[in-house]
Structures are given as C-alpha cells and as structure tokens.
Symmetry: C2
Subunit: 338 residues, 2 copies
C-alpha cells in the first residue's frame, strides 16, 4: 500500500572511492576488502530487500548493520518507489541503475582522483532536469565518503568538520589525508571557492559529483530537493551553493548525525541556509540487537536513512512500525546466519 | 495501492538489433532513425510514465502508440514494481537498468551479429537464479525482434512462422532475410538444434539471449516463468526447450497475436508445451483513438503487454479500468502534442 505521493521520488546514488581503503577511515564493511562491494550490496538491499549479485549484507567490524536495511524498512512500510543512480560502482550490482558516466574514484591523495567528475555532473544535471518529480530526496552510499566530503569542503574553503560512521571520529586522520590531497593537487584550502566542479574532481568522489549534478538540475526545473544524509549532503549543499544556487534546499538526517559533537551539522546547515529536518528512529526504545550499535553511535546515517525516516514521519507512520520492520529484515537476513 | 503479490516480479528486457533498419521489417517507430531509441523510450515510459532522456513516445508511422503505454497503465493500476534489464540498448535511457553485458545486435545477415550472446546469456542466467521472486514475468522491447525470432527458430529447426507489428506481416521479406543470415553463417535450418547459444549468436539478438538466460536461471531455482509477449517469446521458449528444460513454462500474450492468422501462436505454444494465456484488452469497446490502431491489427504486442493484461485480469481488475488509464496516459502524453 503506497502511503506516499507519486510526486515524491527517492534516489540513491551508489559509488566508490579508493580513499576508503585507508586504515581507520570507514566502518562500512566488516572487512576492508568488502568495502568496494558495500554500495552495490546497499543498492540491492534497498531494491530487493536482500543481496542478489553481491551475496553480502554489509555489517561493520563491530556488527552494526548497514543503514540500507532501515531505508528498505521505510520503503516497504510506505510503498515507496526508489531509483538507484550509478555514482561510480566498483562491483556489479543486481539493482537496476541509471548511468551518468561516473567511474570509481581514486584516493584523493592522487593528483586526479575523479576524472569523470565533470562528465558525471553534467549528465546527472541533465537527468535531474528531466526526471518527473515534484520533490526529490537524494541519499548516498559510498564508504570513505565523509573524508572526500571534508576534502571538497576544504577545497571550497568551508570551515566545517564532518561526521563519521565510526563511534570515534578519526578527525585528525581525515584532516591529514585531506592536507595530503590538497598538496597533491597543488591547492590551498579555499582555492576552489566558487568552482564546485574543480573541487569535485581534485578532492571529491564520483557520488558527490553525481549528487551535486542531480541537485543542480532538479532545482533548475523547480523540483524541490532534500539531501538525505549527513556530512556528504552538507558537502553537496556547499557545492550547489558555490555553483550559485541560492534557493530552497532541504537537509534531512538522523539524530545520530545531528547530535555528533565531533561535527557541527546544525551550524553547517545554518551557514548554508538549509532547511534541516532531524528524525530520531527511537532505536533506544527498540531493544533489539540490530539497533544497539546505532545507539552506541555507529553508522549514524547512510543510504538516505535520515530522509527515509523523515518521509515516514511526515506520512504519519509511527517509528515503532519502522523499527519492527527493520528488526524483521535484520532477523531474516543477518540474525538467521548467526 | 498494490493489487499484486510481492512475490511477482515483472522484468522488461530492452535492446536493439540493426536488423530493424531493413525496410519494411518493423512498425516500432514513426521514423527508421527513431528505431534505436524506441526500447530506451519504452523503458522510460514503463518506469516513469513518460520519456526522460529520450524525449520521445514511440508511435508507428500510422499513429499506433507503443504498447509501453498499455503496460504502464497496468503497472499503475496494479501498483506493480518493474525491473528493466539492458538487453543491448543503443541509446542512453533514463530508466534504471540491470547490466548483463549485452551490446546492440548487428544485422543477422552479418557473420557474427550477436557476439555478446554467450556472455549475456550466462550473466542473465546467474541473475535469474538469484533474483528473489516466486514468479517472473518477462517482457521485451526490440524493433525488428520478430525477424530475429524467426532466425533463431529456423536455426533451431522449428518450423513456425512469427507475427508482426505491421498489419500486413511481411513474411516473405523476413524469410528472405533469415535465409540470407543462415547463408552468411554457413548454416542450414536446424543446424543449431539443441544448441541454443549458437542459434542466438548467429541468428538472434541480444534481447533473446538475455531473456533465454533469465528464463533458464529462474526455472533452475524453481521460480515460475511466464514469457509475456508473442513471437519473440515463442523463440525464447524454443531456446529454453532446446537447452533441455522440460518443465512448466507460461506464455501470456494478447488476443491480437493469438488471432494473427499469418503466424500460428497457439500451435507453437502447443508444440513447445507452453501454458498459454490470451487476454483481450477489449480495445474495440474503448472507442478511443489510442486503441484504434491496435484494433486494426497494428503493434499487437510488446513491452510485456499481454502479460501485464493477464496480471490485471488475474487480480480481478476490469479491463475497462486498464483502458481508461491507458487512454488518460495517451491523452496526456501524445494527444496533448497534436
């Protein structure tokens, strides 16, 4: 039963950056070797409810399940259609994807880590212009994405800190890596101010390029955009603002990101003039193993989780219903394997 | 509102063959130059209700709209999810697609027209094995597809005639072209009996290869398969039978194909031991310009139209409801442009 209007379209951008393979950067995948698979698996989980080609449900080293299961739970509860865009996948996914020419990103310490950034931005922008929707909700899945988000923010000269999928945000490590990347691109912080595509290509990742293009295209044709996520969405918003767009832009995230003291999401949203929606899934009331790691501060966001929760809330769905479905999915897909 | 079980999955395979560019072979596209665009547009219409990247709604030279609008109407009425597989698209589509490595097919008079046939079959088979569904309904869109279907049937040694999207089936022209193709591949009719992949590669197209692979994989994992269409689906069934599968296989088509005297669909279904479902959309009662050309014998099938109608019928949806929605879509998308 659809409990959501047909004018609302939820888009997931899934891709990769080799930046994720650096030690201690991301919690997206129990094993570093599985990280390139995570976005392909997330796309399948959101689309089908479980893995198809990837044969894996991403789980962090400490056992936190992918937020894809939460977004999938909302999708099922709302009867919500989703569209997945290939933002540089490194592994084949069984989920149908829209192609914008994005290829996997390289480590930002390399000189030209996102050679497809301009092309992907342009194709995504055109797609965003033509996609029929009254409102677009954009989520992402890319391990290592908060580090490239920091890279883009520094390149643009935006002095904000990003959040992390790890309970302890490795802020120093990220800052070092971004400094290394800026040096490799012969850039100082702020050198790409007003030049979003340059920031994307030198310090970003293909998912950020695709999301920024989608957002730019959609708002040009009066489609309302809500960025569904945390730090990466702040980076996308900064890119679009540096591209000259001054209109309305939404940011919907979880209470876990909003309450992360190591970042400063509320301040960033304020500075970038974003309409912020924070939704608490109430996992502390859930009393379920699938929710414990979220309550402990892991994952926090991803696969548009914050946006999905906001859509459920807007539709009047009690969070308990979302939690129940999430717990069922977890028990079916992960609990059964243990 | 979903009026269809979650275990039912509708898959559209969309692709191209250069065989379609021969004069008088296909009605799929008002202009021969638009034929490579038709499958990309059909995928968008089924997914979004209208064109996104392609900017065109396929219409035959005499004004018959693409059956994609009918299948889309059923999709909306039933709240039915669809998955599009790229079976060799020649133009970018805005619809999300699953990749199996199929590339556009060449003219069957060339020596190796479907070089990706083996790879696409294998990847589609694997996908068919892993796709979560109780039953799979498989439709196709490929201009020129009945001619390549005839090519495959001849290569396998199956003596049946195929139907046509044109009111007057150009049977002699098709037979000549198939004879030319067999000669180019140094084959006699029946030379590929029991060798479906050889028949596909030498005389088929990438959509047939993908559909045959999907079917083979799905039935291996006990997913019931209904081929949703006319002559091309007969060819897919023949390929799967020649591959050794003797179990249950469904064929769901429109009354227009079943009543086409130039082909012999009922006899073919009988010979290949297919469970045949024929559904009449009642377009003669519709009294609408969108339906007139169908009643006159044009298009007949495509984009899984016969299967979609069968699903609507099974769900207890009156055909008048499907017709009304189809007429609305036509008026919105085509009528408004006239």
């Amino acid at each position: 039963m659809a409990r959501i209007g047909s004018g609302t379209r939820f888009v997931l951008v899934a891709g990769t950056t080799e930046t994720a393979t650096r030690d201690g950067i991301s919690a997206a995948g129990a094993d570093p070797e599985l990280m390139p698979v995570t976005p392909a698996a997330d796309a399948e989980i959101l689309t089908y409810g479980g893995p198809v080609r990837t044969d894996v449900i991403p789980v962090s080293p400490s056992g936190c399940p992918t937020p894809a299961l939460v977004t999938r739970a909302v999708r099922e509860v709302l009867g919500m259609d989703v569209t997945v865009v290939d933002g540089g996948l490194a592994e084949a996914t069984g989920a149908p994807t829209v192609t914008v020419g994005a290829r996997p990103g390289k480590d930002i310490a390399e000189q030209d880590p996102v050679s497809t950034a301009h092309g992907a931005f342009a194709a995504a922008r055109q797609f965003g212009q033509s996609l029929p929707a009254d409102e677009l909700w954009l989520g992402e899945t890319i391990p290592g994405g908060t580090t490239t988000a920091l890279g883009v923010l520094r390149a643009l000269g935006e002095d904000v800190m990003v959040s992390s999928s790890l309970p302890e945000n490795p802020t120093a490590r990220k800052a070092d890596l971004v400094a290394e990347g800026l040096a490799a691109s012969s850039m100082d912080p702020g050198d790409a101010a007003g030049e979003p595509k340059r920031a994307l290509r030198r310090m970003g990742d293909p998912v950020l390029a695709t999301m920024a293009g989608l957002t730019a295209g959609a708002v040009e044709t009066d489609t309302a955009v809500t960025l569904a996520g945390g730090s990466q969405c702040v980076a996308v918003a900064a890119l679009v603002r540096h591209g000259g767009y001054e209109g309305t832009l939404g940011l919907a995230t979880t209470s876990y990101v909003a309450d992360d003291d190591s970042a400063d999401l509320r301040e960033s949203a304020d500075r970038l003039d974003l309409d912020l929606t924070v939704t608490d899934p109430g996992f502390d009331e859930g009393d379920h193993v699938a929710m414990e790691r979220f309550v402990a501060g892991e994952a926090k966001e991803g696969v548009g989780m914050g946006g999905a929760l906001a859509l459920a809330d807007r539709a009047g769905v009690p969070m308990a219903e979302v939690r129940d479905r999430f717990a069922e999915l977890y028990d079916d897909r992960i609990g059964a394997l243990e």
